[in-house]
Symmetry: C2
Subunit: 205 residues, 2 copies
DNA sequence: AAGCCAACCAAGCGCTTGCTTGGTATACTG
DNA sequence: CAGTATACCAAGCAAGCGCTTGGTTGGCTT
């Protein structure tokens, strides 16, 4: 049952290296979200992956390190995804939509677990871990801020850009607690609803 | 279920009864918020109160019970505070303002710690604990919903009431993570900013 | 074929955890 | 005054925790 040992694959010299790590990270994101980091034990996590608890420490040097890895991965990816979307957006309105879209996709898409962990378990990270991720975090929010400065210049919004940015970010992040992607409302509809919140006038499309 | 122990009455025969409990609950709210429920130990909590860890269990039957008591107290109080504010508000706009105001005051006022614990540590509560608080929670959100149904009828807002309610609630709750009551922006200004978010047209006073 | 090394298991160590126990000081009550 | 209940302390227990250790396996390289 326990298929172990590397397998042959394309040109990769170490084809299976990292596959176990991947499964650990996915299970960790799911369990850390469901049960909380502190309440999730390494034995639980190992069971979910299908290995012994001690074997986890062959891939990560500590439980804290697993949390860090989960968070680092998602924070890097969401920042990259946002950067790409913003590049493709030309108008200020399209850029605000890109902000909302990216956050919503990460919050409710395939990366939902890791995203929730990033939001929820920040305080569980060690001081050094927080410091190591802070620059990425800042970069992500700088993008938000730049968009709202632009939108304000264009007269698209009529509140203090910083406040508006934070209120919108909260509204979107909070959807994790009530919005059901399998329910009647589509993500696109939710995106439009959030967008129309921050624009002065009538709702969009 | 908070044990009652000695009777508290008008002319309190045991003036100090309940004082220890009060200090435990306050310290617990603070520590559970700062460190998280799971990472905060009963020894830590006892130290903060100035008693031995074992003595905590004279007042509460378990650590879980302390969490429950913190949450129950704040959920009852915030619902009562909201009900009172809503009664005093006549127009739909004034009622929306009451929603925002109450949530903001609890999030940033003297009850900030317990409110943050209620939001953040819900998953740490036992199944029975959640069930026991669910009715109060529902009542609170029913008040939100009724206000937004009214606002929609009055043509004050132009989005689906349920979605708008959730988005606003998220925006306001999230202020816990960025708004500084000691900073340049007053709570009233923040309240107005949040209100103008959900109203269709120009910002309010 | 021999050697290497990543990937795993089985066992368990040292420590911390929530909580219990037995006892004491103090205060109120009949 | 004895009787009773409260509020606490000092000590420690059983369980569970993160993590370490020593050993085995099997594919890959040379």
């Amino acid at each position: 049952m326990t298929a172990h040992g590397p397998q042959a694959s394309e040109q990769n010299k170490r084809p299976n290296t990292g596959a176990a790590k991947r499964r650990i990270l996915d299970a960790a994101a799911r369990l850390f979200r469901q049960r909380g980091f502190a309440r999730c034990t390494v034995r639980e996590l190992a069971d979910a992956v299908g290995i012994q608890s001690g074997s986890l420490f062959h891939h990560f040097k500590s439980k804290d390190d697993i949390l860090f890895a989960v968070m680092e991965e998602v924070i890097v990816d969401i920042d990259a995804a946002l950067a790409e979307r913003l590049d493709e957006a030309t108008t200020a309105e399209a850029k605000i939509r890109a902000l909302i879209h990216t956050q919503l996709v990460f919050t409710h898409g395939p990366r939902a677990n890791a995203t929730a962990v990033l939001v929820h378990e920040w305080a569980a990270l060690s001081t050094e871990g927080q410091a190591a991720l802070l620059e990425r975090r800042r970069r992500y929010f700088d993008r938000w801020h730049a968009v709202f400065l632009l939108a304000r210049q264009d007269g698209l919004v009529n509140l203090d850009p910083t406040v508006l940015q934070q209120l919108l970010h909260g509204a979107v992040v909070w959807t994790a607690y009530w919005y059901d992607p399998d329910g009647p409302m589509t993500l696109d509809e939710l995106e439009s609803a959030a967008l129309s919140l921050v624009l002065k006038s009538a709702p969009v499309s």
